[in-house]
């Protein structure tokens, strides 16, 4: 049976056949894209039905986030969000909380609930929410254990009940670096002490499963039909694989997961590099219908962008601190070499311009040793870069998958406290990449940034930061390139472009259904477009919360 969906407009993202008004689907695949009239040769010979439920809406290819972290997200999602910025979540819209009074009143409301289980909130930031302390939390929460997690993930505050629950010996840790026991404050190095105790709560299978169930809603809510898990093995490979399988490989799951193993991940790494490569090579044997590995691997150069641990070329950071290498450069090269010669597509986490430089220097050596075309070597995150590096990415055949949200949230801050206005403004140098015809896509790195591809495209097309400034306007993407970046280009970066990412005969029937047409509402309208539904392999999934 063929089902024909009609729509006000269908943006196919196939440049040779760009728009349509009807799309015929059979057994989860697209039979033809066109109009009711042009579909007739198919419809005359096959039983079919016309489904007009989207006739007033706009259909696009299902959106793709090629880089997020499901299990990391699952740690966060069961917590209550109280944030300085509005968050659209499927189960609630979290309003912006921008004063200490408002913040405290939300905490008091939570404390008033008849619940004695440990309370966790995420999103606290001193600038907006004022001083936090164990004393304040004790006063609000009494005997209920409570944890306030700072927005960057690098700080927590615990109340006395939580410290007792975790059996923290206050006197034993007094004076430790970056721990203020009196205030219940654990940050950076100090956080690592308390995190190992908290892990028995937030890494418990029940917590993770609850978080993954929420992630499932969130991914659908964003209009995705494919996401990439860009580092399986962050915590424990087998645990992550098992739990994600359990949650995502369900008949009603509205998206597929393309997984890429973390080269040094716990449970990925074997006794030696050759055995590890072999282990990763065999991962596709585990593939199920909607949860798959390919011949891909995730490597890392430099440290976290949010912690200012990106490795920067001269003149570095204003305060003179250094970034971090996540592995010694020679080791990075050795591991990259092993996977390159084994024919893998390599995804490299790079945040700073020196991190990018290392990734490109190594790519250049590898191309010299064994030239490859269509090798899929992808710069992931692409925080800071130079124009000259963009030239090299082009020359060496690399791709870019950018976390453009960095510039939304951090370009203002890093201009002042970081690296100065010139370089901070040029985060995510995307138009340079697109202008050179480099394969360029956008990702959320969720939970680092919201998993809302249309919002991400808006950031890439406007380059407007939270302070309201447009930074490096020359690097803005056109609307069309912004949309390509969250559909067909994302599919190419994950190597699934034959299956999804655009709407054409033969591809999987993966759509997102929108209430308005991006070409009509324009770049500014991207922020207010509502995802009405997604269609995944022909199955309709109405966005939760919409009637």
């Amino acid at each position: 049976m063929i089902t024909v969906y009609t729509a006000k407009n269908i943006l196919t993202m196939n440049p040779s056949w760009p728009t349509a008004t009807a799309i015929a689907v059979k057994d989860g695949r697209i039979v033809e894209v066109g109009s009711l009239a042009s579909l007739q040769p198919w419809l005359e010979q096959h039983p079919h039905r016309i489904d007009a439920q989207f006739e007033d809406s706009v259909i696009m290819p299902g959106l793709i986030d090629p880089h997020l972290h499901p299990v990391m997200a699952a740690v966060l999602l069961p917590m209550q969000f109280i944030t300085a910025m509005e968050w659209h979540l499927p189960w609630e819209t979290v309003p912006a909380t921008v004063s200490p009074q408002a913040y405290e009143s939300i905490l008091r409301k939570a404390a008033a609930e008849d619940d004695s289980t440990p309370y966790f909130t995420w999103g606290y930031h001193k600038i907006w929410h004022g001083e936090m302390s164990r004393g304040l939390l004790d006063e609000i929460f009494g005997s209920r254990p409570a944890v306030v997690w700072q927005r960057s993930f690098h700080e927590v505050y615990l109340n006395s009940a939580m410290m007792a629950l975790l059996e923290i010996d206050i006197e034993a840790i007094r004076g430790r670096h970056q721990i203020d026991v009196d205030r219940g404050h654990f940050y950076e190095v100090g956080l690592s002490y308390v995190i190992n105790k908290l892990n028995r709560i937030i890494m418990a299978p029940a917590w993770i499963l609850a978080g993954l169930a929420r992630l499932k809603q969130l991914v659908q809510f964003g209009g995705h039909t494919t996401v990439g898990d860009m580092a399986v093995g962050i915590f424990d490979f087998e645990m992550e694989w098992r739990l994600c399988q359990q949650v995502f490989e369900q008949p009603d799951n509205p998206f597929r997961v393309v997984s890429v193993a973390h080269a040094n991940g716990s449970g990925v790494r074997q006794d030696d590099l050759a055995t590890t490569v072999e282990f990763v090579r065999n991962l596709p044997e585990r593939n199920t219908a909607h949860f798959e590995f390919g011949q891909r691997i995730k490597l890392f150069t430099d440290g976290a962008f949010f912690s200012q641990l990106a490795m920067m070329q001269s003149p570095g950071y204003i305060d003179g601190h250094l970034g971090e290498w996540l592995m010694p450069p020679e080791k990075f090269e050795t591991i990259a070499r092993a996977y390159w010669h084994a024919g893998f597509k390599i995804h490299v986490h790079c945040t700073g311009d020196l991190g990018c430089e290392l990734a490109l220097d190594v790519l250049e050596k590898l191309q010299w040793e064994r030239p490859r075309f269509n090798h899929g070597y992808t710069i992931e995150h692409f925080g800071f870069s130079t124009p000259e590096q963009v030239d090299r990415i082009k020359l060496l055949g690399g791709s870019v998958s950018a976390n453009v949200y960095y510039l939304r949230e951090l370009s203002g801050a890093y201009s002042q406290v970081g690296i100065g206005v010139e370089r901070a403004s040029q985060m995510a140098r995307l138009q340079s990449c697109v202008g050179q015809n480099i394969l360029t896509t956008l990702h959320s790195d969720f939970p680092m940034a919201p998993a809302m591809p249309l919002h991400n495209a808006w950031v890439a097309c406007t380059r407007q930061n939270i302070e309201g400034n447009v930074v490096a306007p020359q690097e803005r993407l056109s609307l069309e390139d912004g949309l390509k970046a969250i559909t067909i280009n994302a599919a190419k970066v994950l190597g699934i472009q034959e299956e999804t990412g655009s709407l054409r005969a033969g591809k999987k029937a993966d759509f997102v259904v929108l209430d308005s047409d991006p070409h009509i509402v324009g770049v500014d309208g991207l922020l207010t477009i509502t995802v009405l539904a997604t269609v995944f392999e022909g199955q309709v999934h109405i966005t939760p919360g919409l009637s």
């Binding site: 670096h177 962050i234 040094n264 962008f305 290498w325 592995m327 010694p328 080791k331 591991i335 986490h349």
Partner: protein, 312 residues
């Protein structure tokens, strides 16, 4: 009573593993309960093969989450070690790109732990080039800046005049450091003698090594060294004939018919000898010397331990 920790810093190839092997080789005779923490990235077997072959235990730190701190293995492993109370000494081989100052801050007030020594190993033959390296130059400079005791290695790759120039450069550039030779330190530790060249902190470690108690009375280890190249078949036949109480053989060998060094790995029923292209300890990497080095671990056999046949 707190658990003493020796922190060994230094960039890749500075000789950290060789140095720790020396430390452990000597300490083992005193039956030290030592645990070695190693940061490794991908080729876990190599450092591990050399280290765990001699000592009681080794733990590889997992470098998990790159973007947040939810998965801090060092902290977890250290608190396990402190709580377990089964060791007398921790030797921590820092990653080549670790920020020593940050590590020391993290370790200094760790409950139940004392940083007894911090040594920074420096490959004399390449250090002047390393501090200018595009990618790691600044990290290595900071390692030197935060070092107190520097152990120089690979001086033999330079002639005496060059050695003197590099030492002078080090002392002038980093006046706070104290320079030690590998030989002086190793000898001190191996013999349990306290020589004048050792700093107080180092003396403390040496004493710890010599007063620790016995563990693992059930295991016996053998070390085979030689510079006679063998064929792969010969070595496989040797492994084949090992008595059943030999649980493990690991190490590096040079073959008659292959110019590359090889990693040998054996557990009962499973033997492999494969070409190795990673970084080797200096003493093993010279193809002219062709030094092979194997360690075998056997379960004690009720006093009937047979002397194992020599492979080389």
């Amino acid at each position: 009573m707190t658990l003493p920790l020796t922190l060994i810093s230094g960039y890749l190839g500075a000789g950290k593993t060789t140095f720790i092997n020396g430390l452990l080789g000597s300490a083992n005779r005193e039956h030290a309960r030592i645990v070695v923490l190693v940061n490794d990235f991908g080729d876990v077997a190599i450092d591990a093969a050399l280290i765990s072959s001699i000592t009681t235990d080794m733990i590889s730190l997992i470098n998990g989450c790159a973007c947040c701190l939810v998965n801090d293995d060092l902290e977890r492993q250290l608190s396990n070690l402190v709580e377990a109370g089964q060791y007398d000494q921790v030797v921590f081989e820092a990653s080549g790109v670790a920020d020593s100052a940050k590590l020391l801050r993290q370790l200094r007030h760790f409950p139940g732990l004392t940083v007894s020594t911090h040594l920074t190993l420096v490959d004399l033959s390449v250090i002047q080039r390393q501090v200018r390296d595009k990618f790691v130059g600044e990290h290595i400079q900071r390692q030197l800046m935060f070092a107190r005791d520097i152990v120089e290695t690979k001086a033999d790759l330079l002639d005496e005049r060059q050695q003197a120039l590099v030492r002078q450069w080090l002392v002038l550039g980093y006046p706070a450091v104290e320079l030690h030779t590998m030989a002086a330190i190793s000898t001190g530790v191996v013999l349990g003698e306290l020589t004048g060249e050792l700093t107080n902190e180092l003396k403390a470690v040496t004493e710890d090594f010599s007063t620790v108690k016995a563990t693992h009375p059930d295991f016996k280890s053998y070390r085979f060294r030689g510079s006679q190249r063998q064929t792969k078949d010969h070595l496989m036949a040797w492994l084949d004939k090992l008595p059943p109480n030999v649980q493990r053989v690991k190490g590096f060998v040079w073959l008659l018919d292959d110019p590359r060094p090889h990693l040998l790995n054996y557990t009962p029923g499973c033997a492999s000898i494969s070409a190795y292209d990673g970084v080797l300890p200096a003493i093993l990497e010279d193809s002219v010397l062709a030094n092979s080095d194997l360690v075998a671990i056997a379960v004690h056999n009720g006093g009937q331990d047979k002397q194992l046949q020599q492979p080389f």
